[in-house]
Symmetry: C2
Subunit: 351 residues, 2 copies
DNA sequence: GTGAAAGCGCTAACAT
DNA sequence: ATGTTAGCGCTTTCAC
């Protein structure tokens, strides 16, 4: 419509519709106690004036903004972009804008900073990404403050209204099953950071599958990393340096799997004919190398969508509705080029 | 400090300091017309009450929020994460929070949507990422609206106060020089999307260097892509399919270079002994493959920092200061493993 | 240099 | 079912 000199306010609409300010306000807030007829009159006036309520003024009255916050650790940026994308999908359609807030890594004050952000901006709600979402102190703070939250997790640490959880454990079990089906018996594992529950969960899935298949969990087949590329390189070197090296390596995330691929290449070990490698996350680059990486699709975008859907419901004061939004995401095994049958010469060698 | 039951307001501070509301307001806004003494009294009261002004209320009066917007195309997510990181660095220290706004790709209404966002949230300023930043319609809209802006660009399309520019042209020239120095004479180029000025600039840098070195720009050595991985695969296949294939390939960005690496691997052409490949951007994955990719560091985080520094200055109404912040970024050639001397058997073959 | 009153655009509480 | 009054926390008049 014609861009009038000034933006229309609630007063203009009230005048135009011949009702009081408050009635317009009721319409804006979808109050049920307005006649069908008045409702329409107001709606038409709104349309005619091309009116949009001012979120700042509304917020001032409500003591609350129409902003969601995305709280994350600033380490793995590839990870957040996808979730952010999904979060935006839903939050904007629900009338919320998104403020991003990376927490300084290693700054012990980060919880206070998040509280300050919530206070200052009067955030309606926040979505917390792993690994911060695993932190019990943070959640304690969140519960004590007037701000809704939803956590994105790999472990069911909260009720359905407050989390979206990926079932990492069974996904890694799927990975192991896939390898076992290909004939692998001697499988190495590069573990994620100590302290991380997501990483622990992934290893649990690995051990589930091995035990179910009556395979031994060998100590020499487990090395520790920290989910960084570099730690994947180092971990793979350790695994591949022994006398009876594994015929397959499972890494707790794609970054480390990529590190393992590079380590194998430098050692002259061909993937997948001599060594299978699997990652976890399906980061964009997993498909953009040769051989492309077999991994598990984390559906990060979808998780972001579900999280903001839950959060919007919570902000509407409908926790039951939030709980009904899907909470657990099953992950898909994406078989690509980095896994193959176990090399015949070592078939049957299970130690 | 002790978290009192309610947040302190300007009234509490006024009472505590024994002055009027307005004087407190003057202190908050660093008005020069306040006595040194009063100033201190108020500052102390603020500290004692642990007071922070409410941005919403301030915004309502100012008709302006304390929010920056980050406007980007939702295609290349790896790209935005780094810039976002840099933008946050500076904007938060200047007292602004960041709202992110991806524009639906292919949606022709996107400029109107950006305007709506600015209007609704009364954004203090926006930072626009390429390729949207090249759009003259957008800039026209931005100039007509009460909102500061800074563009991130590869071409000098604006004055120093309103852009941060990377010198892509000379960076690609550096790349070409590097290859020529290694003995390459027959160099292929995978061009970026038609319409993109950044892509045109990069090719210009390539042609600069070749001409300066008295090498011919052969038509068969130029193929078109669109900065996607897939187009890099296709482009490299075209370049490598001919009788006298190039001994080196320059891609207009890393994504396409990664595509070229995969294409070469599938064709059984070894990189770098039989073929050198160079990218542009230094995306994280460029270093996480084997052979690792020689490329140009785009300094995205730094560009984000500079952009928000400029934007903050503009919002303070100090355009000269904004203009003085560094505007042009020089990029660094990062030599890794994907480039090597031209294979001896084809040395001297310049067509 | 400082303060009192009015108002930014909206909603809550209480009428009617 | 709708309107009136007061107020959210701050800044802008324009006095003094």
């Amino acid at each position: 419509m014609a861009q009038n000199s000034k933006k229309a306010t609630i007063n203009d609409v009230a005048r135009e519709a011949g009702v009081s300010k408050k009635t317009v306000s009721r319409v804006i807030n979808k109050s049920p106690e307005v006649t069908q007829k008045t409702y329409q009159k107001v709606e038409q006036a709104i349309a005619r004036l091309d009116y949009t309520p001012d979120p700042q003024a509304r917020g001032l009255s409500f003591r609350r903004s129409f902003l969601f916050g995305l709280i994350y650790d600033n380490v793995n940026t590839a990870f957040i972009a996808d979730i952010q994308d999904g979060v935006l999908d839903k939050s904007r359609s629900e009338g919320y804008e998104l403020v991003v807030h990376p927490c300084e890594h290693g700054n012990s004050q980060w919880i206070d900073e998040v509280r300050l952000l919530i206070d200052r901006l009067k955030l309606a709600g926040v979505i917390v990404l792993p690994p911060l979402s695993e932190n019990p102190e943070l959640v304690k703070m969140l519960k004590g403050v007037d701000c809704e939250y939803v956590r994105i997790l790999s472990v069911p640490l909260d009720d359905d209204a407050h989390m979206v959880q990926s079932d990492d454990r069974s996904a890694v079990a799927q990975i192991a099953d896939h390898l076992i089906e290909l004939g692998h018996r001697n499988i190495g594992f590069i573990h994620g950071p100590k302290g991380s529950q997501a990483a622990a969960e992934r290893y649990a899935g690995f051990s589930d599958a091995l035990l179910r298949n009556k395979l031994k969990l060998l100590k020499r087949n487990l090395v520790w990393g920290d989910h960084s590329f570099a730690s994947g390189v180092v971990g793979a070197h350790k695994l591949l340096g022994g006398k009876t090296r594994p015929s397959a390596i499972v890494a707790s995330n794609d970054e480390m799997a990529l590190g393992a691929m590079v380590a194998a290449a430098k050692l002259g070990i061909d993937v997948p004919s001599q060594l299978s490698i699997v990652g976890f996350d399906d980061e964009p680059q997993a498909a953009k190398i040769y051989p492309s990486l077999t991994t598990v699709n984390h559906n990060l975008k979808r998780m972001g969508q579900l999280a903001s859907e839950k959060l919007a419901a919570l902000c509407r004061n409908q926790p039951e509705q939030a709980a009904q939004v899907q909470s657990v995401i099953c992950l898909d095994l994406i078989v690509r080029e980095s896994t193959a049958k176990v090399p015949p010469e070592i078939q049957g060698n299970d130690n």
